[in-house]
């Protein structure tokens, strides 16, 4: 009896699949490349966290020892968790609000100014200009910031922005914020352009008089998908940040003050070639981001279809 129902279910599923073959056909080109170059590598990397792998010899299974080491004896990992949380809390929400606020304000401008301002705010995330930031924060009198502050009489002697433990995290956060108006910002800009004109017209008839009301009652409710996209991009960029610090304040940074989890993984993976340990670090980070993403989609859920 049970076998029969199973068979029937199988038949129904098969019919369902056959009925939707156009869907699979249109999905196929993307999925082929996605499976080969993203899904398969991800699946291959998952077990690595439970191994000892130095890239020269085949990986050796070591159970949970990577994770126990991480949580019980790796003091620098503990510090990197703290740095990452501080870093993500300061850059993530600020940048998210900034992305939305700027996208909205730009939308209120004349069309010709829209392109201009969008370019100005987006350009930093296109450019690779660590060299110029190094010169701005350079520790001698030639540094732009130092010479500017000396001119103003705020400081007497040059400050070692990039090597003084008190400043490295701050400097990293500033530069991260500067490049953070990226994918999320542009997606929100596109979202604003996509809001139907008739919505505004209807709103005006129903008595909406200020920009603020328009934002609350018309714009935000019709931007759910873009807000979700920007949130995901923000989680990724603020939690996996590491390149800014590595390029700017050196690696490792003074007293590990700007040492994020991703930097820690880079340290073990590409400096010490302990790939097993590095992927264990990445798995912990992934778990944290996954939970956060679940939480945010719950919050934004009411704006989604």
């Amino acid at each position: 009896m049970a076998v029969k129902t199973q068979k029937r279910e199988k038949g129904a599923l098969w019919r369902d699949i056959k009925r939707n073959k156009a869907c699979y056909g249109m999905l196929a080109p993307f999925m082929i490349f996605f499976i080969l170059f993203t899904a398969v590598p991800v699946l291959m990397s998952l077990p690595m966290g439970f191994t000892d792998f130095d890239m020269a010899r085949p990986p050796k299974f070591v159970g949970l020892s990577n994770f126990t080491t991480l949580f019980f004896s790796d003091k620098i990992f503990m510090r990197s968790i703290r740095v990452t949380i501080v870093f993500a809390l300061l850059t993530g929400p600020v940048s998210y609000v900034l992305c939305f606020l700027l996208a909205w304000l730009i939308n209120e401008m004349h069309p010709k100014l829209k392109t201009f301002f969008t370019l100005i705010f987006y350009a930093p995330s296109m450019a690779n200009v660590y060299t110029v930031w190094k010169l701005i924060f350079s520790g001698d009198m030639n540094g732009y910031l130092n010479s500017f502050l000396i001119d103003l009489g705020i400081i007497n002697a040059p400050v070692q922005w990039l090597t003084d433990g008190r400043y490295v995290l701050g400097v990293t956060i500033v530069v991260q914020l500067w490049i953070s108006l990226g994918a999320g910002f542009l997606a929100l800009r596109a979202g604003f352009q996509n809001i139907d004109r008739s919505m505004y017209e209807a709103g005006a008839i129903e008595g909406i008089r200020t920009r603020w009301q328009e934002l609350i009652y018309i714009v935000i409710p019709s931007m759910g998908p873009q807000l979700m996209f920007a949130a995901v991009m923000q989680i990724v960029s603020s939690f996996t940040a590491g390149t800014v610090a590595q390029n700017l304040v050196g690696f490792p940074s003074t007293d590990y003050k700007a040492h994020t989890i991703m930097t820690h993984a880079f340290d073990y993976g590409w400096q010490r070639f302990e790939m097993g340990y590095a992927s264990a670090i990445c798995m912990i980070l992934f778990a944290a981001m996954f939970l956060l993403n679940k939480l945010i989609s719950k919050v934004l859920g009411k704006y989604m279809d």
Binding site: C23, T131, A187, Q193
Partner: protein, 292 residues
Amino acid sequence: MAEINTAKLRGSNRQAGRKYGGSVVIFLFLALLGLFMFLPIYLTVIMSIKPVEELFVFPPKLYAVRPTLDNFRDMFRVLHQNRVPFSRYVFNSIFVTVTVTVLQCVFSSMAAFVLAKCRFPGSKFINGVIVVALLYQSSVIYIMQYIVMAKLHMIDTYMALIFPAIASPMGLFLMRQSISQVPDSMIEAAKVDGAGLFRICWQIVIPNQKPALMTLIIFAFQGAWNIQTGSVVFREQYKTLPTVVTQAASSGLARAGVAMAAAVFLLIPPIVIFMLAQRQVIETMAHSGIKE
């Protein structure tokens, strides 16, 4: 009466029915913040045209006293010393960038349409997988990707540069989110008229998604243009511009001018594409008529 009114508003650059004050304040706010945001890029451009002796004077100046193209000339001189002619790198970069951008946009749009608007066995699962793939970052992934490419004999070919960049979860996610806003009634109506999914996608849905599609083009182009050949291509004749230009510029702060020149040079194509695509995005609003 109402018709005349709407026409008038469309003619002006205002959005319908809105006469809110405060635009000047907003403009000033954006301009000031924009100035701050633009400063590092401005400095990059200025330093790329500063002669060497001006690079490290005190106090540092915000402009070039005697602007010069020496840095750019230096950069190209280094590049011309390579065994492979410079035009080959240009060709490689254009070929890789155009292929990746076109394939990524076409494949992602189709897949995003299906994932956003069709329910079929596995659709929920794939939707979830895309977000997970976005969140999953690992330093081992590149090694695994390398292993896959080696198994498929793609190392040291154009394929190693192009194929991994085509299926970007971010591009798909962007399009999916945007297409999910298209009213189902529009698709149902097209189905009643006898249009197949493929036609609905390309003739009805995607033309309506200009802002998202243009944004995807910007992302795809930018990503593809910056592909560095790194560890998957070793033969000189397959290297891309960013790879060789970065090589030419990377010799510490003494070559800061050349590094700036390289940064400026590499920034030009993405900015051009950005301007072209953004103009399309903004025109969408001006001309968008009835949606439903």
